[in-house]
Symmetry: C2
C-alpha cells in the first residue's frame, strides 16, 4: 500500500513536530504535507494525479453519495481513532444505501500546534481502514486554524458508491410483517468513548465496535432475501434509528428488549452513568428489515459473517400505531421509544 517505513512520521520531527499555520497556506509546507503525508499514505493513481479533483471511472449509472464530519473526542480510543471512524462511518453510510464503496474524499481541519506524529497515526489508520473496506481515498483538502479555534483535528469524509442492484432500500419500503434484524451487540462505541473521556475503569476495557459494514451488507443483499431497509446505528443509537424509520415508513415497529444483545460491561456502564443502551451510538452495527418469510434465511446470512455472529431478530413491523416504536421489556411491559430531546453523549463521532 505504501513505500518506506509505515510507522515513522515522514515529516522529520526535528523539522516540524507540530502543524503550523503555513501548513494550510497553500505554499511550500502545504505541498510538503500533501506529498509526504497524504499521498505517501493513501497512495493510488487518481490521488497521484495531484489535481484539485480526481477523475474516476464510474461502473454503474446509479451512485450513492454521502458525507460526515468527525469531531470525536478523544481522538484515540479503544478499538480505533478518528481516522478509523472517518473511513468506516462513511463506508457504512454507503453500505446502508446498498452501495459498493468506491471512492472517498478526506478534508482535514487541523488546529495549529497539533502533533505531526499524531496526524501521521490518524492518516495511517485511515489508509488501513480504507484498504480493509476496499475504498480509495482519491481527493482531499487541508486547512489549518489558529490555536484555540479548533480542537486538535476534525475530519470530513465524503463517499461515492456504486448502486448495482435494483433494490430500493428506504424506510418507506418497510411493510407490516417485516422482521427487524440487528447485526450484533449495541452500545460499545459510545461507552468506550465515554469511558476514556471520563477516566472510568471497568473490569475489562470496552472496545468500540467500529467496523466497515459493506461486506456483510453486500452479501446479505446478494443472498436474495429481499431487504426492504437498512440503517446503521450511529448518533442516537438503535432507538433513534428505529424512530426515524417508523416515522418515515409510517409503520409501528415493535422490538423485544430481551433479544437485543448488550454485553455485561456496557450494561453495567450504562447503569452507572444513567444511560439507556438503546440510545448509545454504535459504529459497526445495523438493522435490516426483511419479509418475515425470509427472516431466518437473512439471519443465517448475517451470522455467517464475522461482523454478524451475534445477529438476532429483535422485532416486527406492524400496521397499527403508525410512526411508533414500542419496546417490550423482559417482564412484558411495553414502553414507547421516542427521540431523545437533549444531548446524551456529545462528540462520539
Amino acid at each position: 500500500m505504501k513505500t518506506g517505513n509505515e510507522f515513522a512520521c515522514p515529516i522529520p520531527i526535528s523539522q516540524y513536530s507540530q502543524i503550523l499555520m503555513a501548513h494550510g497556506g497553500g505554499g511550500k509546507l502545504t505541498h510538503q504535507l500533501i506529498e509526504n503525508m497524504f499521498i505517501a499514505a493513501f497512495d493510488n493513481p487518481p490521488l497521484k494525479a495531484r489535481h484539485d479533483g480526481a477523475a474516476l471511472d464510474m461502473p454503474s449509472s446509479k451512485l450513492a453519495f454521502t458525507t460526515d464530519s468527525y469531531v470525536v473526542q478523544p481522538l484515540f480510543f479503544p478499538g480505533g481513532d478518528i481516522g478509523t471512524l472517518a473511513v468506516n462511518g462513511t463506508v457504512n453510510d454507503l453500505a446502508m444505501c446498498g452501495a459498493r464503496p468506491l471512492y472517498l474524499s478526506a478534508g482535514f481541519i487541523i488546529e495549529e500546534g497539533f502533533s505531526m506524529d499524531m496526524l501521521w497515526r490518524v492518516v495511517q489508520s485511515m489508509a488501513q481502514a480504507a484498504d480493509e473496506a476496499g475504498i480509495q481515498i482519491v481527493t482531499g483538502d487541508t486547512k489549518v486554524v489558529e490555536r484555540g479555534k479548533g480542537d486538535g483535528l476534525f475530519i470530513n469524509t465524503a463517499g461515492i458508491g456504486a448502486l448495482e442492484t435494483g433494490q430500493a432500500l428506504s424506510a418507506e419500503s418497510i411493510k407490516a410483517g417485516d422482521a427487524v434484524l440487528l447485526s450484533g451487540d449495541i452500545g460499545r462505541h459510545g461507552i468506550s468513548i465515554m469511558a476514556v473521556r471520563e477516566g472510568l475503569a471497568f473490569e475489562s476495557t470496552i472496545t468500540s465496535d467500529c467496523a466497515p459494514l459493506s461486506d456483510i451488507v453486500l452479501s446479505l443483499l446478494g443472498s436474495g432475501v429481499g431487504v426492504h431497509c437498512l440503517r446503521d446505528l450511529t448518533r442516537g443509537g438503535l432507538a433513534t434509528a428505529l424512530v426515524e424509520i417508523a416515522e418515515a415508513g409510517e409503520k409501528h415497529i415493535e422490538i423485544e428488549e430481551a433479544r437485543i444483545p448488550v454485553t455485561g460491561e456496557v450494561q453495567g456502564a450504562c447503569e452507572i452513568l444513567g444511560f439507556d443502551p438503546l440510545y448509545i451510538a454504535n459504529e459497526g452495527r445495523f438493522v435490516g428489515f426483511v419479509p418475515a418469510s425470509k427472516a431466518e434465511n437473512a439471519l443465517e446470512q448475517m451470522q455467517a459473517h464475522p461482523l454478524g455472529k451475534q445477529a438476532s431478530i429483535i422485532g416486527t413491523v406492524k400496521d397499527d400505531h403508525a410512526g411508533l416504536v414500542t419496546v417490550r421489556s423482559r417482564i412484558g411491559a411495553c414502553r414507547v421509544a421516542d427521540r431523545i430531546s437533549g444531548e446524551q453523549l456529545p462528540r462520539i463521532c
Copy 2:
C-alpha cells in the same frame, strides 16, 4: 426553490436563537435543524429522501470528485460569505477538471452558541449559489462542538461532476508554445477578506471575485480550442498555481506582469500591506493553457462570457528551464516566481 419566506430564519428565534450541543446530538433538535433549515433551503428530491446517503443518477461513465473545507474568517465579507465560497469553491474545482457540476454534499461543524440567524443566512447563500451553478446539495451532516472548540462555523463540501468530453486536462498536458490565458483581474478575494479583518478602509470597497466558473469553462471546452490544462487561482494565487503546473508539466512558464489585470484598489492595498498580488487568493479566476494557434480564438470565447470580460493572454510555455515560472516586469526585468514558504494570508477560504 423553496417554500415560505426566504428571509426569516425558520427556527423561531424565540425558541433557539443559538446552536446548542443538542443540535448535533442526533435527537429531536438535530431533526428540527435538518428539517426546518437544511431541507427547507436545499429542497430537492434526493435530499428529501432523508437517507444517510443520496441515490443519484450518473449520466456519464467518468466522474470528477473533489472536496474542500472552508474556514474563512470573517464569515461574511463584501461579495459573499462562507456559504457562497463553500459552493463556488468546490464547483470551481470540478470545472477545472472539465466536469459539469452535478451533486454537492455539505458538512457543517458548528460551534455551540453560534447564531441561528447567521446560520440561516449562510444556508440561504449556499442555496442561491448552488442554484446559480446548477448543482444540487443532495446530502449533508451537522456536528456541534463545545464553545471554544471551534470558530463559529466550518463548512466542508464535496462535489461530483460529469466528465463528458474526452479532453484530458492536466499539468502534464501543457506543451511548449502553449499560450497562458488568465480569465480576469487578480487579488480581489484575498484583499477583500484582509480589508474586513484588519478594518482597512479604501476609497471604494474591494469586493471578492467569488463566482462559479463552470459555465465559462464548459463553453471554452465546447468551443474546440483544445484546452490542455485549467487551474483556478485560490490559496497561493496565480504564482503558486503556475509553479505547480510548471513543476508537474516539466516546462518553463513565462508571464508578463503588464498583461495581468490588477485593479488600482488591489494594487494599492497590496503596496500598503506588503503583499504581492501574484500570491493573493482568488475565488473566481482561472488560467487556461491552449495551443498558440488557438489562443486568440480562446481569448474571444472567454471575453464573450460575463466572468471573462477582462481575460488576457499573459504568457507562454517554453521548453527551456523545466519547472520554472518567470515573470517579466514592466521594465523588462525577469524574476523567478517560487512557492511562498510561509503563510501570507491565513484563512481566506
